[in-house]
Symmetry: C2
Subunit: 143 residues, 2 copies
Amino acid sequence: MHISTKCSIAIHCLIFIYEYGEEKRITSELLSLSTGCNPVTVRNIMSALKKDNILSVKFGSGGAKICCPLDKISLYRICKAVEPDMLNKLIGIHSAPSPLCPVGRNIHAVLDKSYEKIRTDLVASLTAITMKEIIDNYHYKGA
Amino acid sequence: MHISTKCSIAIHCLIFIYEYGEEKRITSELLSLSTGCNPVTVRNIMSALKKDNILSVKFGSGGAKICCPLDKISLYRICKAVEPDMLNKLIGIHSAPSPLCPVGRNIHAVLDKSYEKIRTDLVASLTAITMKEIIDNYHYKGA
DNA sequence: CTCCTGTGTAATATTTAAAGTTACACCTAT
DNA sequence: ATAGGTGTAACTTTAAATATTACACAGGAG
């Protein structure tokens, strides 16, 4: 696993909504054009963000707004929303070690202990970065 | 991407070699039985570890030995050896944002800046854990 | 010096996970 | 009532990871 591309699409959408949400009615069609992925994928991602109260989407007529202060939206929150099981997917452990071998029997427990620390550290990294910082960055870099 | 299962297989093999390398002649066949994956995969992983001077494998007759102090073998070194491109694979960015859209044009540069920090943090986490710690853990937990 | 068992590695096939597509019920503003 | 949206399920396609097959070559044992 890796940190899903869904996460980067979500960020892309959030920037777009933040920048143009006031003047335009943002539809999944529009976002799919900007992100280059298809409208259903966008809708699924939006749906996930909505469930975590990061944004609100108008049913029926379309239109999305961010409904949460930017500095409360961390990368971790976004990742977790679009890929709830991401911490487990992130680190792969071979699934069929032999129970007949002393190493095989214990490898999972042993690895878990070390990998748990890596997960904790990663969560801290992801939590430290928020949409505020990303959008500041966008304004600085952006045309 | 995720941290490859190859990495966990590599660790499994290293523990096995450390524990039994003196008394037994360790072949890819034997390791494949213990890890539950096939001998060619094991050989490829061993080959990668060998290239990074983590272990030495006898050609022809078989038999593997660790040829590096355990505390010099970090998780990062193992991951890097078995999956050289892992940092890039780890974090996914959608590949086709529209160049016609201001957000699409700049998203890669903006994300890179934040993701770079996550990569750096992760490398630090992975470097902090070494085979010494893992094998100590194994002895503590192990039967 | 030849047979046996093993490594190294390429080519191919299989499996699995991610992403895209199609389809359609339901909502809402006009 | 209708046109243009959303939400979501089922299915298809694509791409990546893993396994399989195959074989040239190495080295020890007889």
